[in-house]
């Protein structure tokens, strides 16, 4: 599609959508959001890009094959599940680390659960993009 308005809008919208998708993913543990929603939003960013310019340009903007993205996401999620083995707990038991925690101050939480959610994000985004790109290239 060759529309100047769409092209111009996309240039602003895509980074915004991507940042928004990350924001939704990260805040998901405490507010509406999470990896599924983030991944869906993130994929729409690149679909927009593909519609405005071309699938080939969207692919090069992504820099990595979407299939690989999905597989990496699955690997991260699995890794997050395996972390608990080190602590001799059941698979997929959430592990937490509060950086700089003190009395009354929770500190910065780092957790296997967050890693899992990022994995979900990458899987959803990679899976959908792989599908949509392939579909658009075939048609």
């Amino acid at each position: 599609m060759n529309s100047v308005i769409l092209n111009a809008a996309t240039r602003i919208l895509v980074p915004l959508l991507l940042v928004f998708s990350l924001f939704m993913t990260l805040r998901g543990h405490n507010d509406p959001g999470g990896g599924f929603i983030g991944g869906l939003i993130g994929s729409t960013a690149f679909i927009f890009y593909a519609i405005a310019f071309s699938t080939a340009e969207a692919r090069s903007a992504l820099r990595i094959e979407p299939e690989q993205l999905a597989i990496i996401g699955l690997g991260l999620a699995l890794l997050a599940g395996l972390v608990s083995i080190v602590f001799n707990e059941a698979l997929f038991t959430g592990q937490w680390l509060f950086l700089g925690a003190s009395e009354g101050e929770k500190g910065l939480p780092i957790s296997s659960v967050l890693l899992f959610d990022i994995g979900v994000y990458l899987v959803v985004m990679g899976g959908i993009l792989a599908l949509v790109f392939a579909l658009e290239e075939e048609v």
């Binding site: 869906l40 699955l74 699995l78 659960v113 979900v120 959908i128 949509v132 290239e137 075939e138």
Partner: protein, 767 residues
């Protein structure tokens, strides 16, 4: 013979030596258990397996299992030493050794397992390994057919047995055999007794080849001779007998048990020994005598008396010894002369004196001539028969006839090839000297044992017979003495009659054989009947497939939704509906609006012929659903729904360019039936949902998640915490599905199309 291989191959190799060493090691280990068991004790070993279902790997060594274990490993050692030489140089010698060892171990599992489920698993393992062994010469169609037949018959019996085992577990509340035995008559008094009996006996009869399931056993002779020697003396086919003996304390003592086992055992014994006389192939002859022995064992396990059981146990040991010896001996003859035809062989004793000696020893035990163990066994059989509670005449007649025929067959197998006249033996089939020592040890030792135990039965009595009888009847005092000379009594007279009849039968056997062959050829063949049965099953399956798999998606859908409707109505019929139509509450306009929106979108999607309009309608429905999620406090779900709905529309939009237009109403045809089905299912679903929302809801899980979400999982969004923490493993499965779906869809798309070609083909199809 299928096993034509380099005779000069090296027997001193890993596949040749390892199996006999394993078997001998096990034999020695079991030997050490003898003193404990002889004193009336037993050894138990338990490893937890599936504790949640009461299934453990529990093993017990008592008289019965130890007797079997020693026979299996002892004969196993000799058979494996024999095959080290017999199979030497065979290109698949290593595979053969693996199968044979695996078979021996599974058989040991059967006789040692104390848990019925474990017993079943080992039982099926013997079925599978024997399938591999019988079909070892897989290039030959006969072998393959025999293997498959054995697998199907014994496998089907195994399934029946599994059902029986489960019923037993339900009735007794445990799968441990020792516990079930300790409960006394719990199975006998249960209303499910008949079901248990039939199912267990089906398993035992198929494995032990009782009429009418006998036909697989003679066919299984397609296996290499050492396999036949092992499977048909002490192991595979004795599995069924073992099962009956094992269940004897818990199931025997009823009229059903008594009469079923008596009749099937007796008929099998007589039938088999008559057919044995008809055979000319020595291996086939022995196969039928095995059937006869199995029939006799079943016949004597029927009765609860001390003589009958002592007789059965003694005969079991005798038969294992002489049958293994005879099979191995025939292997030697076959190995050196290249034939097993009784009509051809004769005068071999000059060239093969040691083989002749082994044959004579085993043959005389089989014929029941004093002072061999076979004679003691036969006396016991008669005594057991005389005290039978079923029908003394039937049991005695069956035993007499079978024993006399055994005498004659023993002479045909063990006497004639060595001392008979060599009428038709061609130059090619004349013996090339004695068989190698590895192949002679087995038959000589086993034949010799028959004589040794006949002369000195006390060791056998104390270590094997008495403990085994005690395991079956619960009382070692029930075991009867093994005597060579028990005085002048009815059993001795019957023995005399047996010898007389046996000699007559031997002298007339050629004439009898001609007559039997004529009768046999004219009568019904179970073997051919089996083939007809298999063909029938295939036909039936084909017919059914043609009816069910019409290849039309709409018919499949009709079946699916029709079944769903029937299932839902069935559930409703059971539990009833609880539909209270509440007066419509004063809902906000927005609720009405959303519902109207969804209905309108649905209507559009169903009615329109335009693809774009239909996709639009679907989009509207999706947004309506998202709005409901928003109104009823599900922000996460609503966002997901909105995003997915957008993507669905995008995908449809891209794809619609490639897909054809929708068919018109005329092309679809009248669909009142479809509409009626759809409305029926829809109405049912509505009513069920109303019932569900009227009922009570189990909120335990919801409350647990709400209470634990922050304290243990540090998350304030409960939905997300459920997804990534409480039920993360589930979610992992789901994202795996997403990856797989995406990758396969991409692969499908990338697999270059044949667009142009198919396009032209379509034009032809349409016209």
């Amino acid at each position: 013979m299928a096993d034509d291989h380099d005779d000069e191959g090296h027997w001193f190799s890993l596949p040749g030596l390892l199996p006999p060493i394993i078997a001998a090691g096990l034999f020695a280990a079991f030997w050490r258990a003898l003193p404990t068991v002889a004193d009336g004790g037993s050894i138990r070993h338990v490893t937890q397996w599936v504790p949640g279902m009461g299934v453990d790997l529990s093993f017990v060594i008592d008289g019965l299992s130890l007797t079997f274990a020693l026979l299996i490993t002892g004969i196993g050692t000799l058979v494996m030493l024999y095959s080290a030489r017999y199979m030497a140089g065979h290109p698949q010698h290593d595979r053969f050794s693996l199968y044979l060892t695996a078979f021996m171990l599974s058989m040991l599992g059967v006789v040692l397992a104390d848990n019925l489920i474990a017993l079943f698993v080992f039982w099926e393992l013997t079925t599978i390994t024997s399938f591999l062994l019988i079909g070892f010469s897989h290039a030959s169609g006969t072998s393959r057919r025999a293997a498959l037949q054995a697998l199907l018959v014994t496998g089907a019996g195994g399934l029946a047995m599994l059902a029986g085992v489960i019923v037993i577990g339900q009735v007794a509340g445990t799968y441990e055999l020792s516990e079930i035995r300790a409960m006394g008559g719990v199975l006998r008094d249960s209303p499910a007794y008949l079901a248990i009996f039939v199912l267990i006996v089906l398993g035992a009869f198929t494995k032990s080849a009782q009429l009418p399931f006998h036909f697989w056993l003679p066919n299984a002779m397609a296996a290499p001779t050492p396999v036949s020697a092992f499977l048909h003396s002490a192991t595979m086919v004795k599995g069924g007998v073992y099962l009956l003996a094992r269940m004897h304390p818990s199931l025997a003592g009823t009229d059903v048990w008594l009469w079923t086992l008596t009749i099937f055992g007796g008929v099998t014994a007589v039938f088999a020994s008559v057919v044995a006389l008809r055979q000319t192939d020595l291996k086939q002859t022995l196969a039928y005598t095995t059937l006869m022995a199995l029939g006799t064992l079943v016949l004597f396990l029927a009765a609860p008396g001390g003589y009958a059981i002592t007789a059965a146990v003694t005969f079991l040991v005798i038969h294992s010894l002489y049958k293994a010896a005879l099979f191995l001996m025939i292997g030697c003859v076959d190995h050196r002369t290249g034939t097993r035809d009784a009509a051809l062989l004769g005068g071999l004793w000059r060239k093969m004196p040691l083989t002749a000696l082994a044959a004579a020893l085993a043959g005389m035990s089989m014929a029941g001539i004093p002072p061999f163990l076979g004679f003691i066994g036969k006396e016991l059989l008669y005594k057991g028969g005389l005290e039978s509670t079923a029908s003394v005449v039937f049991v005695i007649l069956a035993t007499l006839l079978a024993s006399a025929l055994m005498f004659a067959v023993g002479a045909i197998v063990a006497l004639k090839p060595f001392w008979g006249r060599a009428e038709n033996l061609s130059e090619r089939n004349s013996a090339k000297g004695e068989a190698p020592w590895q192949m002679l040890v087995g038959p000589l030792l086993l034949g010799g044992l028959g004589l040794y135990f006949g002369l000195f039965p006390h060791w056998l009595q104390d270590n094997s017979i008495t403990p085994t009888v005690a395991a079956l009847l619960g009382d070692p005092a029930q075991a009867k003495e093994l005597h060579l000379w028990a005085g002048v009594n009815t059993a001795l007279y019957l023995s005399g009659v047996t010898f007389l009849l046996g000699i007559i039968l031997y002298l007339w056997h050629l004439r009898l054989r001609a007559g039997l062959t004529r009768i046999d050829d004219a009568s019904f063949s179970f073997d051919r009947g089996w083939d007809a049965f298999l063909v029938g099953i295939t036909r039936c399956a084909g017919w059914l497939t043609d009816r069910l798999q019409t290849g039309d998606l709409r018919q499949y859908m009709l079946v699916v939704f029709g079944t769903i409707l029937a299932g839902l109505l069935l559930v409703i019929g059971r539990t009833g509906l609880n539909v209270q139509i509440p007066p419509l509450p004063d809902l906000h306009m927005k609720q009405y609006f959303v519902v109207i929106l969804m209905i309108a979108g649905t209507g559009l999607a169903v009615m329109t012929r335009s693809r774009i309009a239909a996709i639009g309608g679907l989009g509207v429905v999706g947004i309506g659903v998202a709005l409901i999620f928003i109104i009823y406090s599900a922000p996460d779900v609503a966002i997901t729904q909105l995003m997915v709905e957008t993507l669905v529309v995008v995908l449809f939009g891209v794809a619609a360019l490639r897909l054809p237009v929708l068919p018109s109403r005329e092309q679809e045809g009248a669909r009142w039936g479809h509409a009626a089905l759809a409305i029926a299912v829809g109405t049912t679903v509505s009513l069920i949902l109303l019932t569900v929302t009227n009922g009570t809801l189990d909120l335990r899980l919801t409350d647990y998640f709400a209470a634990e979400s922050y304290p243990t999982a540090f998350g304030r969004n409960i939905v997300n915490v459920i997804l990534v923490d409480f039920r993360a493993f589930d979610t992992f499965g789901e994202i795996s599905v997403v990856v797989v779906a995406a990758l396969s869809a991409v692969a499908l798309l990338r697999q270059g199309g044949k667009h142009a070609k198919s396009q032209s083909r379509t034009e032809e199809d349409r016209t």
